[in-house]
Symmetry: D2
Subunit: 290 residues, 4 copies
Amino acid sequence: MKDNQKKIIFLIQCEDRKGILSATSTWFFQRSYNIVHCQQHTDNIEGRYFMRIELDMLDLKTTRKELEEDFGLFAKEYNLTWECHYSDYNARVAIMVSKTSHCLYDLIARKNEGDLKCDISLIISNHPDLEIIANQFRIPFYYLPVTAETKAEQEAKVMTLLRRFDIDLVVLARYMQILSSDFTSQWHGKIINIHHGFLPAFQGANPYRQAYERGVKMIGATAHYASEELDQGPIIDQDVVRVNHELSPNGLRDVGKDVERRVLAKAVQAHLESRIIMYKNRTIVFDVER
Amino acid sequence: MKDNQKKIIFLIQCEDRKGILSATSTWFFQRSYNIVHCQQHTDNIEGRYFMRIELDMLDLKTTRKELEEDFGLFAKEYNLTWECHYSDYNARVAIMVSKTSHCLYDLIARKNEGDLKCDISLIISNHPDLEIIANQFRIPFYYLPVTAETKAEQEAKVMTLLRRFDIDLVVLARYMQILSSDFTSQWHGKIINIHHGFLPAFQGANPYRQAYERGVKMIGATAHYASEELDQGPIIDQDVVRVNHELSPNGLRDVGKDVERRVLAKAVQAHLESRIIMYKNRTIVFDVER
Amino acid sequence: MKDNQKKIIFLIQCEDRKGILSATSTWFFQRSYNIVHCQQHTDNIEGRYFMRIELDMLDLKTTRKELEEDFGLFAKEYNLTWECHYSDYNARVAIMVSKTSHCLYDLIARKNEGDLKCDISLIISNHPDLEIIANQFRIPFYYLPVTAETKAEQEAKVMTLLRRFDIDLVVLARYMQILSSDFTSQWHGKIINIHHGFLPAFQGANPYRQAYERGVKMIGATAHYASEELDQGPIIDQDVVRVNHELSPNGLRDVGKDVERRVLAKAVQAHLESRIIMYKNRTIVFDVER
Amino acid sequence: MKDNQKKIIFLIQCEDRKGILSATSTWFFQRSYNIVHCQQHTDNIEGRYFMRIELDMLDLKTTRKELEEDFGLFAKEYNLTWECHYSDYNARVAIMVSKTSHCLYDLIARKNEGDLKCDISLIISNHPDLEIIANQFRIPFYYLPVTAETKAEQEAKVMTLLRRFDIDLVVLARYMQILSSDFTSQWHGKIINIHHGFLPAFQGANPYRQAYERGVKMIGATAHYASEELDQGPIIDQDVVRVNHELSPNGLRDVGKDVERRVLAKAVQAHLESRIIMYKNRTIVFDVER
């Protein structure tokens, strides 16, 4: 029942200038590609142009390598920064967790239902608690405890695993450790974190306690790419839920779990569907036709 | 971390009249009960009064039976309709499904995370597809196929199972069969169904197709108690999500799954927490302090 | 502080086929137009392609008439259905009301604050009640009462006024009369109505009473183009608000006013900003960069 | 059509202890009052009990003064902090503005439609721009410019006006000046401010610019009681709206106006309907049956 049309997706950005759309669409048209969907954004403050193009993969008459080399020449001429993705490729995802299971369950369930097109290749945790879920779904689980002293060593092990499993995307599904800036910069744009607060409010620890004490009337969650500064990376998605005086910090936390799940899943889906372009500390997240 | 205070919950309704609150609260006070939480609603159109009272179970100095008999006398005097629940009792839940797994996964995950206080005692389906999920979580699974000819017979088998497993609540988690009015009346107020549309719009089959054709800008889901008339039972919860022209009927269906999950889980939780009073075709759903 | 860049906006639709985007963007590029923003939608079910193009008006080196004639030739070749709008033109709007003022106030306030770029040229009502508001804002007010017998005659007077005032758009801001199909077909795509219910639920009269009786947990409002069949025209926008058992039909009505205001204003704004394309009974509503 | 039943409303808070509900409801019952609505909240962290009671004013058989004196004795015995309000009293409201009109228009319109039960007795501004609106609605307007040097003097004039007009509530409807702590402490719990950001994110100036730079995906507004610390007072209501990369800071500001209007109006309405109890830096906001 899913839309089975396979697609080639180009994500493009460049300085804004006249004629980019005409040149690009004509480039594809001349090679007999049908542009299934084309979305653009111009950031007038930054003078920057962003484009996402979906092609029908049936129109691909060359190898993927040839297409990319060919487009590379065009991109050079117009000074485009670009990526090319293929919808028939299943990204390999590693999920990092601590003790809380709600986001992990949700991501696995969505993957199994076909809503997240990826392989969940491994689960890494600094606690052993969630191994039982990994086993249930027969996903490799690595327990790598961490202390202040062993942090560098543990991260090295994590990165070795990520390479060994050929991971494309790391999802921090309530992993309650701060990654070193060395880690985040090596995996720039490839780590999605869920923060259980409405950033930039309530950064850091215990956001639900902070929210209770401030007496807020809504709580939220924020999915963002991890960056060197904690909770400062480019935001992908946010959502909130209305709360009232009846909720204690624990009550807020329970109610917040639903928002965390939803926001993280939406962000991971957008990444897997090649719908996000990052520029400086902001994201352009394109919707898609379904 | 969960609030461990055990509670006794009274759900009360009666004709509206002066002094009910005073009489009831005094009744409990005289027996040294601390009223932890008390909520009321007066329906001025129906002239009907509704009350939910939470007591601290530590104040219970008699047997549960004695409490109920004692309150029964008071209730008779004031002509109250009432139920009494105990928060340390885990309701026994049967989930009925067809082929779609998203609500089933979600209910199991929430139960495992402690958000739904119940036992999921069995899963019944008219298709064999989801047995694998039941096995994963070691929940008994019964495959009871149904045709127009075998409907009565199949329902008899279902009801036998519900009795054998001592079921308190049946959740139709996208069970794509219409239950007979015989079934729904025997289980009145004990079957929660998720309808994948914003009732009363789009009743019946293929609501997402209907929504597409009408060109709506939001789609929704409705959790309600099953009643004799299809999609007409008392609504417990509803929610919607914004959609646009980019979504085909299949796209609407994919987007709608999230709302269905959320709405069904919220309705089941409200039922399990003894927060719902039904009157005619409407529900009073009380919030709780957490 | 408002973005002062003047724009030319093309709304285009045609049968879907390869190369439309390339041909169109190249047509404008060859005439030295900067495409400020370009949005597309392909309805794969209908096989139909929709496009909205924003040009910088500073690039206009011909008269508007010449541009349109020139583009008309191109459109003919590609069999495009199209409209051309200029952002420096203030549409002339007539508002029709009965006795309820909340939408009227809201539209006038938004116009005065610069959020609705239009002239509110006249107000027509079948009741005299709101003349005071018209006077306050010095807007011509016409009181045209209507009965079953005088309906045709009254509508003729209304249409005469619309012509005399050179009206581009009629907004039914809680005008509690059903327009004849003669009227709606003459003004096809130029009448926006606010329905105080979440269509297609609760069509017809007294939707808040209907909502109360059905015991819904959300109420909504729907803005749509008026069509020959009551409440069946293409939907432009919808929104909802959560309600509970505490609201009587009057309470629902009071709470609903806010949604009505918001939805109607959003729909009128989308129309005035030339962001809506109608096809059959559906609308494509494009967002804009601001 | 409005519910015409006049009501007496008690707002009560005290240390939490057994029997308060029984004692209070019995006190009113013994004096033949019908408790139309009774809401409670126990803050278990603070050990504090809050109650809102609605009585039918037809049951008032004494003077208001006698009722209050009588209840005062009871309150003393139980150590209650309390207020008593009468729904037939129209609070006298002063609105303070600067140059932006959207909240002002909205409050006036809602008052005229009967949704805000109050008199808008005067408008005070540090700029002359909005006098025209005041004139339109025949509301006294005072232009009191302010500079760093004249701040104390200007505030003294403002407070003189508030006293002269016998003001009960001051609404800062985008008044872009910071009130001195002397002012806010004299008017503690009687000044409602709308902050154009989702507190505690984006405190201080230019929240929409801050939101743009942080790349948030939702923006919000917060209505709160003014306190000595800027943007730190007890929050009454908050709401958000989804935004995306297409919005510049100005675009965010335009979109945000709608949220500001809505949130401010809801907060003012809750205050006017005596539904808010303040405790430390938090508010309990009770819903009401309508």
